[in-house]
Amino acid sequence: MIKVLFFAQLREQLNSQGLELTLATPCDINAIKHALIEHNSQWHAHLSQDTILCAVNQTMVDNRHLVQDGDEVAFFPPVTGG
């Protein structure tokens, strides 16, 4: 099981704070995005934005990062704190 989280405008666009996915692991971030789009095809445009960032277990990663079962995977737009 993989815990997926969404933040900020992506959370609003998807109208979801997140969900739990069951996937064969290890798999990369692109595979998770595909599974999410399969879950809800309306999410395609939002999750395909190339500005979307991803963190696994609270550390930023790129799309080739391999996710393990039990990981927390977060998707969010570029950060704007400070």
């Binding site: 609270q58 930023m60 704190g81 400070g82």
Partner: protein, 158 residues
């Protein structure tokens, strides 16, 4: 050297005088304290702002800030570092963020404080949503903030 580090993410306001006193308390080794304070501006990216909501990713925020601070510690001899970032509802002129760095030397304190702010802007999971006359608007990340970390060289890329 051992650096004393304190990082807070909080709804409450902070008191710069108290934070500055803590940097100085029993401190006879440091010749330099640099601090940055970030405030809510009335005008941002051409919009008239009346307030700001700061969302964050709670499990990640302090970790991300800790990694940025740890990077700074590997690059400069720093004595005390204090980072505070507020979340939740803020108003015009409110304090958003505070970074204070002390060191025996001025150059290290200046450079490290600037470095921490540049990376915080790019890597810490906070998002601002402005309250404006035109409704609530998520703030866009700025190209200049992304470029700001280029000056620190590749070895700082996570």
């Amino acid at each position: 050297m051992t650096t004393s580090i304190s990082i807070s993410v909080q709804n409450d306001d902070f008191d710069v005088a108290q934070e500055y006193a803590a940097m100085r308390k029993d401190n006879t080794q440091d010749g330099a304290i640099v601090f940055f304070s970030g405030l809510v501006r009335e005008m941002n990216q051409g919009r008239d702002v009346t307030g700001l909501f700061l969302e964050h990713y709670p499990a990640m925020t302090e970790k991300a800030l800790g990694e940025i601070v740890a990077q700074a510690c590997t690059r400069w001899p720093l004595s005390r570092i204090r980072v505070i970032h507020r979340v939740g509802q803020l108003h015009i002129s409110d304090q958003i963020v505070f970074v204070a760095v002390s060191s025996s030397h001025r150059e290290a304190a200046f450079t490290a404080c600037h470095f921490i702010m540049d990376f915080l802007k790019n890597q810490a999971p906070f998002w601002k949503k402005e309250t404006t006359q035109q409704g609530n608007i998520w703030v866009d990340a700025l190209e200049k903030d992304k470029r700001a970390i280029d000056k620190w060289g590749n070895k700082n890329e996570d």
